[in-house]
């Protein structure tokens, strides 16, 4: 495990600095928060094309003939539903049904899988997988070897064609492809709600491809806009909206939890019980009504009927697309209906907000 005082530097670091990015520590990495500005970067992704350094994210390869069965016992989604070169969003839970990590699993072959995991959870994920390792399963952590970026926006496919004419078509949604003798991996996915792909290459090569996609029209975007983009789409952020005390059912991720997949998985007994007995709380999206300061992570949420604080925002911010404050929060099931009036507490003052439909954009 890396020394927690070590700040890791992206292989794209010099490019960020040349572009004048504001750099901040994130998940143990020094990463760009913004270049030109969050709103401009946000809009570039919604309307055209952005490129995000995601070198901090982790990559793990799992191999062995029983990989599928083994993974199915550790992850919520149904691994057996995957075909070669297909991927799925899935969750890794603790024994109590709480979330360790949300990740994307790709099947490259019947006996070989590729996992993309959150930067802040690489060590924890690998430790959990290792702890649960059975004979014949091999686990390789490639997180330190790959640099990566995400290309996101409606112009993603045309940029791909411009940069890499000889690589053929982009894989379909959630698909994975290996290029350049397997050294490079592209996955048709992302965290913004727009079309796009994540691109993984050895650290020494990633800069060259970053430059190629920037030349093809992708605007460098930082973690600030990555957050506002995902929040508008209500994609949860692990460590904020997902945590070991909340289950994926409470987080509204039931679609990625296959309780009937034909085998138990870590936490499945708790989730089944939650399903039978009903949930006590759910993650809802809120939108501020009228003029108010932007909601932020940690702000109190109150029920105006009683005046009591009922929760805290797990995420919050200003939606550049809607021009309104938005957020996510776990509230008791009685307060989850669309249109439910709530209040957020900003420095001791309360501002009205309401529960809205997910996604918000």
């Amino acid at each position: 495990m890396a020394d927690l005082t070590d700040i890791q530097i992206s292989p794209l670091d010099s490019r960020h600095r040349e572009l004048g990015a504001r750099m901040l520590p994130f998940a143990g990495w020094e990463m760009p928060i913004q270049y030109e500005g969050i709103v401009a970067e946000h809009n570039a992704v919604r309307n055209s094309l952005g490129i995000f350094d995601i070198s901090h994210m982790g990559q793990v390869e799992i191999s062995g003939v029983d990989s599928e069965k083994w993974l199915n016992g550790l992850l919520t989604n149904d691994v057996s539903a995957l075909e070669d070169n297909g991927g799925q969003y899935t969750l890794m839970l603790n024994e109590g049904g709480g979330v360790i990590d949300d990740l994307i699993l790709y099947r490259e072959a019947a006996d070989r899988f590729f996992l993309v995991v959150n930067a802040s959870k690489i060590d924890e994920d690998v430790a959990w997988l290792t702890q649960n390792l059975t004979e014949g399963i091999e686990l390789k952590n490639y997180s330190d070897d790959f640099g990566a970026f995400a290309i996101q926006g409606p112009a993603a496919e045309s940029a791909w064609e411009k940069v890499t004419a000889e690589w053929g078509a982009l894989p379909p949604r959630n698909g994975i492809v290996r290029l350049e003798n397997g050294r490079i991996i592209a996955c048709r996915t992302g965290y913004t709600g727009e079309d796009g792909f994540e691109f993984f290459a050895p650290n020494a090569e990633i800069g060259k491809w970053w430059d190629a996609f920037v030349s093809a029209g992708a605007k460098p975007c930082g973690l600030g806009s990555r957050d506002s983009l995902r929040l508008e789409k209500c994609y949860p952020l692990n460590g904020s909206d997902l945590d070991p005390d909340h289950s994926p059912l409470e987080a509204g991720l039931g679609f990625f939890v296959k309780l009937e997949k034909g085998c138990e998985f870590t936490g499945s007994d708790v989730l089944k019980k939650q399903k039978t007995e009903g949930l006590s709380q759910r993650l809802v999206a809120i939108q501020v009504i009228g003029k108010a300061p932007p909601p932020r992570h940690g702000y109190g949420v109150a029920d105006p009927a009683t005046g009591e604080q009922i929760s805290e925002l797990t995420s919050g911010g200003l939606s550049p697309t809607l021009g309104k404050g938005i957020g996510l929060t776990y509230v008791p099931v009685g307060l989850t209906k669309i249109g439910t009036q709530l209040e957020i507490d900003v420095r001791g003052r309360r501002f009205p907000c309401e529960v809205v439909k997910k996604p918000m954009v």
Binding site: R22, G37, V39, G224, K291, P293, P294, R296, L318
Partner: protein, 127 residues
């Protein structure tokens, strides 16, 4: 390169004050500060008539990403608020020394101005 105006005084926390009209001295945030904060989307303005001490947090400038406290560069009474900023907070970004002023202070003790930086010293700090 950030713009620094010669006739203003600057606080360490990046507020500027115009000392040439001490009965109603405009206060705002520097060009450097607005550039750091970027994309101002909301302002919490102080109450008119409030008497504040030097260093007291009296307003909040919120960007997409963060909430930033604004401190009184010197003590005094708040004698005017830039109300239009409430509807157009982006003026802080586009015109930080002009239409982006936040409030006006009736300076209580002019000697407190001496602790503030002049344009040369402030420029050196933000280099």
């Amino acid at each position: 390169m950030s713009n620094v105006l010669d006739h203003l005084k600057y606080a360490e926390s990046h507020e500027w004050i115009d000392p040439t009209t001490p009965e109603a001295a405009p206060v705002g945030i520097s060009d450097h500060a607005q550039d750091e904060i970027q994309d101002v989307v909301y302002l919490e303005l102080p109450e008119l008539g409030r008497v504040v001490e030097k260093g007291e947090a009296i307003a909040v400038v919120e960007s997409v990403k963060s909430a930033n406290d604004i401190y009184a560069p010197v003590g005094g009474e708040i004698v005017e608020i830039n109300e239009p900023l409430g509807e157009a907070p982006e003026l802080i970004n586009t015109d930080p020394y002009g239409e982006g002023w936040i409030f006006k202070l009736k300076i209580a003790d002019a000697s407190e101005l001496q602790a503030l930086d002049d344009a040369t010293a402030y420029s050196a700090k933000i280099g």
